[in-house]
Point group: C3
Chain length 351, copies 3
């Protein structure tokens, strides 16, 4: 007879973190930024619509706080206990929604989610103002994603609580851009030095369409705050209309040097940061741009170049890069929770 103890017992132990987690980096970033929480204080009474609402000091302090969260195993305090986030994703999204909800939960707050656009009042013809009036009564902070870029502006006419833009059509996605900057500053905290020497300035390549991609639009606005440390931004793009009206002029006025090219492989050997994205969500469908651009481990990347991607990815970013040191896109995604925790922490002062 088989004794119970003779039966084999397979196990499924957890993996440890891979090398590309870059967990030492937030520690390093912390050393480069002096705490000045007052800077964040006036974010407490603001809705976040555009990357234009962040100056260099605010970005620095948010990254500082995010780095602090990333290096703290377990947050002991739950400052948002009793506060309700309404997570309204009228354009479906798992990644951004979970990242915001995770951040809010880790700060102790409760969440109500709207994930099925078809069942909502808006789908039945309710006005944005009426919805905003409702959300103001039932929640403390709103996170909104909508295919209609005007939705957030319409809602703000009636809202009495802060709203955060989690992607409005092809317009902006400011918190994604904060996550991008957080990744870049963890990789190179010395970019914060206003007197950075010429040889340490970086060249950033963006494979994407600034005029159509909300992630790229917001990122460029934040990058312009660090123009003193950036040799140039090279837009790699083969569409006819690269920029929206006035977009390039605004970036140059803000101090960013921008160049446009269609040749990716010619640029890669000179780039320190390569940001790539291919999908534009527009209404209920998507456009794919730049399908002829594809980064792989055989691309002529500089040895020390990092690759960023807002994810989810398509064929433009080969998985064979995952195990290389170029892979900073997973660290970028992981940091998205901490930077959103930092931003949401500001609202603690509101209550």
């Amino acid at each position: 007879m088989v004794k119970p103890s003779d039966i084999p017992l397979p196990t499924q132990p957890l993996q440890s973190l891979p090398d590309n987690a870059h967990l030492e980096c937030p520690e390093e970033l912390l050393k480069h930024i002096e705490e000045d929480a007052g800077t964040l204080l006036d974010l407490a009474n603001q809705s976040i619509v555009s990357a234009r609402q962040f100056d260099r000091e605010r970005v620095m302090q948010l990254c500082r706080l995010a780095a602090k969260y990333e290096t703290t195993a377990v947050p002991v305090q739950r400052p948002l206990t009793g506060k309700i986030l309404i997570s309204a994703f009228y354009e479906p999204s798992t990644r951004t929604r979970l990242s915001f909800e995770s951040a809010w939960h880790r700060l102790g707050g409760d969440i109500m989610s709207i994930t099925d656009p078809g069942t909502t009042g808006i789908a039945k013809g309710e006005s944005y103002r009426d919805v905003a009036e409702m959300l103001s009564s039932y929640g403390d902070v709103i996170v909104l994603r909508d295919t209609d870029q005007n939705a957030i502006f319409e809602m703000m006419k009636a809202l009495r609580v802060p709203i955060i833009n989690a992607g409005n059509g092809i317009d902006e996605h400011p918190t994604q851009a904060l996550a991008d900057i957080f990744a870049i500053l963890k990789w190179r905290p010395d970019l914060l030095e206003l007197d950075i020497t010429e040889d340490r300035k970086i060249r950033i390549g963006i494979i994407g369409v600034p005029g159509r991609m909300r992630t790229v639009r917001s990122l460029l606005l934040l990058l312009s705050l660090f123009g003193y440390a950036i040799k140039e931004v090279v837009i790699i793009c083969n569409t006819r209309e690269v920029f929206a009206k006035g977009q390039r002029e605004e970036l140059e006025q803000r101090g960013l040097t921008v160049r446009v090219t269609t040749e990716m492989d010619a640029e890669l050997p000179n780039l320190d940061v390569v940001y790539i994205n291919a999908i534009v969500w527009s209404g209920n469908s998507y456009e794919e741009h730049g399908t002829e651009y594809c980064l792989t481990k055989d691309s002529p990347l500089r040895e020390d170049a990092i690759v960023l991607h807002p994810l989810a990815r398509g064929s433009e970013l080969s998985t064979d890069l995952d195990e290389t040191p170029h892979n900073w896109y997973f660290a970028q995604a992981r940091g998205a929770v901490y930077i959103r925790m930092a931003l949401l922490t500001c609202y603690v002062w509101l209550f």
Copy 2:
């Protein structure tokens, strides 16, 4: 070179409350009702199916507690910590669902939501009794909305935890009616005086179909508890069948004077409260009633008349009323969270 500090920084400060919030009113209502929590004690072991389950004393005490919540910035206690609400919306709804969930969260409880009827056991042919057996095991209180008016009664045959009717077909919506009464009593706390003088009694107009609209059906039942303060209820309606079988008789037995007319504009100058609704959800589609009735700021409303609407609205309620003193529908919607908090608080005694 552009210095980072030269870049302009637009802000998006929050709006303060508009004048029509009526935030002073709950304070006033509090003064009119003496606390008697014992009245609410026996709601703790009850399911809430019908507005018939509330007498005048219970409605008063619930409104008292709601007013207390509305005037308390932050509830310090979280009496429902560890308790689970199952929010089962087999008929989709954002407004009522969020209002219940917000109330439960503000009392400290956790929530599990069912928002996609198509994926549930019921859609696959599971019986209401089996679902009720399951919900009893996994939650502490159930909130149910269903297009089928019998669902809640079928479930109650097997449920061992309280269930609250959040709209059952064309039958009832008792907590909406509580929110309506809460708004009316905040506006005129003197309606609570049993010896109210004739000149202060009110005339209420209801533009809607009592026999087909669950909100109207429940509201009329609650209004009948205050028959001593109501001159008459005028039903403004142009359908052939205004009442369900026995409905008018029941209301009159409960002490309500009811009159029916098709002429809205002739009545408006004599009405103190105008309640309007046009939509009847029936099964998975809706009927629109009274599309020829439309309230605007040019309607011949009395100067001091208030307008109520369960929302979401259609064309029957013009947005040009929003900025007028007639607008009490936003205050009514806002109060819905507090009256639901009051009702849910009763279950604290159950645990």
Copy 3:
């Protein structure tokens, strides 16, 4: 005039538990198992994919902890405070999802749910590995149900947090099997005695298809840990292919005596436990098996036989059995929360 106090006030008092709740049983089970929490300690760093990962000692200790939870009215501690469960149901399910979420909430944790497969990255072609990388960053424990039996294995290649299999295609459903065993051991704690006498050994009938039903597959693996107390397992099944390749051999090697028959009524008088199931979810549709088998109160069941069913049921299990002492399927469903609480408690040691 009608006085408000004259209006009748119907009530809807709650029901007490029916007799088939078997609430005295977990107390009895507790007495039969000596506490040895160390056994559960090494589950803390494991994902749960298969029933093969549980030996008899682990099953006993989990059942012990579950019985403790079932007999404790209100858990005072909230050990998972601040921890996030991602409840990812790419194959829709209400019952299993709510049961897991209820368990996690009762331990104090927060939850993010994915319930609408159509809106997720996976539906848009995102790889399981990328999804796993994301989930690792945003949650602390993952519960996954997927129609694709390989999804969990693909995800585990990239996951850094534990994942629990809540049903992977036609492969396994290990926590359902734990709930089944928990019910059986509450009914007969003496089955834990390794020197059980022949006359007290039991005969178990399974009406279902071991090779196609994940619930049956996992249950058989757990039953084999108690082979010393089981005379035989009788599979009642009329499909051509009863077992998957190697399945019967594995069970026999693990010490289970298995016999297959097509005749239900001939077997019933000799069975102590009758487990019945008819539905196999396969991809996005389902197959029905054994529709000619139907248990009713007129079936020739032994007087003291118990009936188990993973629910939701179809016509194979008549509701006329609900009020009989054979009904242990409701106790089994109720116990599912407690056994999942026990399993999830193990992760407390991880944090």
